[in-house]
Amino acid sequence: MTPQVSGLLQDVLAHPGVLSGMVEALGSPLNVVVPQKIEENAATYRSVYGTHRLTGQVYFAHKANRSTALIRELAAGEIGVDVASLGELQHVLAAGFAGDRIMATGPKDADFLWLAAKVGAIVNADSEQELTELAEITARHRMPAVRAMIRLSAFDSPGVKVLSRPSRFGVHQRELPSVFDILDRHRDRIELLGVSYHLDTNGLDEKALALDGCLLAMHDAVTRGFAPRAIDIGGGFGANYLADRDEWESYTTELSKSVLGTRPSMTWQSHGYGLRAEAGTLRGALGIYPSYRPVAGARYLDELLSRTAPSLGRPFATLLMESMYDLYIEPGRALVDQCGLTLARVAEVRSTAAGETMVRLEANSRDISAEDHAVFMDPVFVCDDPIDADPVGVYLSGNLCLEDDLITRRRVTLPRMPVRGELLAFVNTAGYFMDFAADHALMQPIARKVAVYPAGDSWRWCLDDQYWPVKGNRE
């Protein structure tokens, strides 16, 4: 399955010699990020705001990637950042972000709340307890009022009941009155900026219902005498990983046939990715990411804003504009689309007893992590010479002494049999995969990270934490 590769990542892959030099020097696996691309991506979201005449702010969900270079690049630009831990907050402050462009989300302890309040970040409160604690902290430390948003999580639907996966985060719409009571008691400590949601779903219906619920909640807040100004709809806009729809569609068809046993297996030990066969019928659900996704990223946002609100009956964009509410979004994965790749060196090629080819990489499944997130895309074979051979199907395994350390549970296609020392590139790993799961398991080092940037007609690189936005060409 051919990955989608665009922008600077294409140029990077066109220099195999430089890539192997980098891996030689810094080890395998090696993460590569493209800081300047993230600003370009931010602009596509801005343009959706433009077409709908909306005001507001884009906050990059830091959790999608640990790169310092990406954060510094963003600090130099216009958009904000969403931090979900004390560590992330410290990281973005050190990169040059001023507090007023920071949004603190996720579960927060006292330390995190204190620093967020201290620097004037927006606190996106997860629960009533958190709000109360925030009020106490600002009182005890004599801080000016903190801007806060209330994260909502479950919404009642009119007409047909739209079920939503239960969330561990946020408060139910019905708990709002008691949240307002807390805010009422602490009017001088907490300024209610608005309400928010982040739902872990790619279903537009659920998000539409949530946005509808947020608009109603804003109305309630105004009725209670608050002056909220913004609705934050979180992230989860998704990314498209594959270049070709037909490849994706025929692959998934063949996969279900192989689970049914009507064609040879395509996966390690006939792994079914959630599907199983029962009496000739396919059961379960294909638990994989929709890797080919025409409606993702900024287009997904556009679709959501163009929808008609279920209970309010006008398009969301119109409702937001008419109500003069700012729209905040927190894309993570979608904002680092095409912003990174992971290089891994081939350690060994061998045949299994069953006659399969197993390619072991100098990396483990947590370094690559695409399998954890069930994103199906083949690696790019990094090689100097033109390839004149038949493609081969191989399994990719990792360097841990664990049976389940498979980088792919499905056979991937390479243009020829690789040999020890050659490089594979996993493109577009910047969102979550690059370092979400990576750790020091079995004392293996975790990947170093480098930033690449255009310089003259070519590109240059430096260690991720050596990158500052003054590097590279800019128009």
């Binding site: 047909v160 996966r165 659920e206 109305h219 998704g238 659900a285 994989i288 003069m324 954890d372």
Partner: protein, 439 residues
Amino acid sequence: MKFDSILDVIGDTPLVRIDPGVHGLRNVDLYAKMEMLNPFGSVKDRPAWNMARAGLAEAVERGDAIVELSSGNTAKALAVVAAMHGLPFKSVTNRMKVPELKDLLLLLGAQIEELPGQTECLDPTDSEDPLTRMYRMLSEEGNGHLHTDQYFNPRNPEAHRVGTAPEIIKDLDGEGPDIFIACVGTAGSSTGVATVLRENNPDVRVVGLVSTKSDFIPGIRNIDEVNEVGLFDPNNYDVLEPVSAQQAIDGMLVLNRRCGILGGPTAGAAYFGAVRHLASIDATLETRKSAVFIVCDRVESYMSYVRRLRPELLKQPARPNSLDTVTEDELCSVESMDVTAARDWISVERPVVVDLRGSFAYSTLHIEGSINIVDELFDELVRGGLPFGAGQPALLVCPVGEKSARYAALLTRMGHRDVRSLRGGVVAWRDAGAPLVRD
């Protein structure tokens, strides 16, 4: 014809010949089996009644709810059956994609639950699929359910074995067709009918139609989804062929406009797939053949589907006094006032201030003394003429001052003598610190 119950009206649908001048086949007689003429409107009336009937007496005694995984015609038929017998009907669906049907189901008293979408940060161990969820719901809630289980229940194809298929054979003078074409959803109609046709004539050719993978045609599954159906057996079909949503609408238009058969998109898919398949063999035929396809349901509930896929088909004639007729020149001569000027004007001339935003936004905050005429309503009003006297000064207000300028231009053209627009709209008003009220 006299019946004791509408349920007795189910079945005995006619077979209608398609005019050869329309389909253009030289050696094939093509017939439509008119399942849309069933009393609840679809091919699902028969299996729904056949499945529900089995446990109905006990269900009525216990007051059980009828439950089914359906967002379409089965749900509709079952909702009627349940309502007629005083039972609740619950449907759990993957996604209700046809809004009109949703409303109809609610009207019939159904309770519908839509299942959540896939998680974005994927959890590969999550095995939540609609069927599993449905079965879990049934077992959690204990007894009290009559689960019709259309994707697995043998009483679904049976309804077509005992009804639909013999009717087709009888109407073709005992011969049965040479070729049978059916869309595959639960596989009930295609399996049930095909089994009997084969017993009658082992040489019958059965064509199953599925939707192209990325398309949605109501009631039909795609080539992967059919594998999730317990009743589906690929050996029942000589060939499975895909039809796209656009092709389904093409077929539907021919049926609707040229044959007077007001079938929906699935009927259109069946007709399109039938003609495409038959055309490829028509020239090679040496004897006359007959073919039958099924008209699954009626077109009426698919207007939003058509609007989405072929908006041009529903294009309205140009309206008089519509906003899109405003020219650049007209727009340029509109008097747009900034906030300070507007406030002075309001206090001196007391114009009527019309806020064109939605009532939700208006009721939250608005300019004191303004009235709210939502743009959609304003559109309706100006079609018939000026909504207030031509000499009554008026200030139009919208969110950012664009729409109000267009309306001001339109009203001016219609003869209004002093209509102005608030430049920058209510946003500029707020940003200038001018008062907004909620009263």
